[in-house]
């Protein structure tokens, strides 16, 4: 790891100030992506601004079907939240299957979405849930937030403070984990509301998370796994790498979507 200077922020305002005055600074949340990246020298920030001691970034509020999750809430805290499991069980299930217990004790929802790894789990949930990303400066719809591979709409000195959404009537998540890394080789999040069905896919797209129109249309007619018989997803914009071809991923999307619907229907 290259040299760096560590700062501990005491508040969001403090963090914004510290990151603004750093030459090439980075916010540090759980460190479960950033520290490994720095260890392998793929990132070399001059300064790190640690957000972990900021209480205002922590915690989950569920009121009726409105959910607000602080950016600094860990995957373990999301996975273990009883109130959230009641209104949006797919999200607690998703968090419980990120990495391993040690990663889940440190890693945060804010860090995960800011990183926008094309194989990360949370981006699919946020897109399907139509969530809002709240920052110290503004509110950004998930659809506008995820802009490409490891790219988001965030400005360099912008701090995510929370994620907010209305829990849908039904939701489900199914991931086919890469057997080595446990990241999604393909993961599908489905959310059913009165006004329609949203389906978001992670791990498969050439340009990161995306919505699967053909699957959404089929499920809007009938929200059952059987509605997806014969539905296919074009492989054109899907990823091919050492783990799987685009065609394989196209097939997996439909299989995972069926499983996600089955999970949503309970």
């Amino acid at each position: 790891m290259y040299e760096t200077t560590y700062h501990r922020a005491s508040s969001v305002e403090d963090a914004v100030k510290l990151i603004g005055s750093a030459e090439d600074g980075k916010l540090l949340a759980g460190g479960q992506t950033l520290i490994p990246t720095m260890k392998s020298r793929l990132a070399a920030p001059t300064d790190l601004v640690d957000l972990r001691q900021i209480d205002a970034l922590k915690g989950i509020e569920v009121s009726g079907r409105s959910v607000r999750i602080g950016a600094g809430t860990t995957h373990a805290e999301v996975a273990g939240h009883a109130g959230l499991a009641e209104v949006c069980p797919a999200l607690t299930h998703l968090a419980a299957h990120i990495g391993d217990p040690h990663v889940r004790h440190m890693g945060t929802i804010g860090g995960s979405i800011a990183n926008n790894d094309p194989a990360a789990d949370y981006p699919a949930a946020l897109l399907a849930l139509g969530a809002t990303v709240v920052t110290d400066k503004r509110e950004i719809a998930a659809a506008d937030f995820f802009t490409g591979l490891f790219e988001t709409a965030l400005a360099p000195d912008e701090v995510i403070t929370a994620v907010a959404f209305e829990a849908p009537a039904k939701c489900g998540y199914a991931k086919f984990p890469n057997p080595a890394s446990r990241y999604a080789l393909t993961g599908v999040f489905v959310a059913k509301r009165d006004d329609g069905v949203r389906v978001a896919v992670t791990g498969a797209g050439d340009d990161g998370v995306f919505r699967a129109d053909a699957i959404e249309q089929a499920l809007s007619t009938s929200f059952e796994p059987s509605a997806l018989e014969g539905v296919s997803v074009p492989a054109d914009d899907l990823m091919t790498d050492i783990h799987a071809s685009a065609d394989y991923r196209a097939n997996l999307i439909v299989v995972m979507a069926k499983r996600a619907v089955a999970a949503a229907n309970g």
Partner: protein, 162 residues
């Protein structure tokens, strides 16, 4: 440089370190607590697992500066006097190790896992929960057996105490 201070295995410790120092290096190189191992550079193997404020974390994926002010427990902090912790005893009894390289991390992960499942563990849960700990020797069978046995033994002790 950063001044860090924390409680490690019940002892107040401090040091002046380069900010980039990982917690595992502070434990091993500064404090001489070499029970915590480093088995990879990709945050995947779990040989470095310690407890920070009561939670199992990978000490290779945390800066010492991040842990400043925290309470840390390492494998050296488990035994009381000459008596092995029940999880250590179970690993010995059930032959849960061969070369022993992964063992400190396995045991720290197991202690955390048992604490999070006060109502007991089953085999599937143990295997699931060991996702972040890699063993190149045992094939995991005896590790799983040891953790299940320790979980039972500790529940028994808790019942006796109640």
């Amino acid at each position: 440089m950063s001044d860090v201070s924390m409680v490690v295995n019940g002892r107040n410790v401090s040091g002046s370190l380069e900010d980039r120092t990982l917690l595992v290096h502070f434990l091993r190189d500064t404090l001489g607590l070499t029970g915590t191992h480093v088995g990879c550079d990709t945050s995947q193997c779990g040989a470095c697992v310690v407890h920070v404020d009561g939670k199992a974390v990978k000490s290779c994926t945390m800066l010492a500066a991040q842990a400043s002010g925290a309470e840390v427990v390492t494998i050296e902090g488990l035994a009381e006097g000459g008596e092995l912790h029940p999880v250590q005893a179970a690993f010995k009894e059930h032959h849960g190790l061969q070369c022993g390289f992964c063992t400190p991390g396995m045991i720290m992960a197991a202690v955390d896992m048992i604490a999070r499942h006060p109502d007991g563990l089953d085999e599937a849960t143990v295997r699931d929960e060991l996702e972040g700990n890699i063993c190149r020797c045992t094939g995991y069978h005896n590790i799983v057996k040891a953790i299940l046995a320790a979980s039972e033994a500790m529940a028994g002790k808790a019942r006796q105490a109640a």
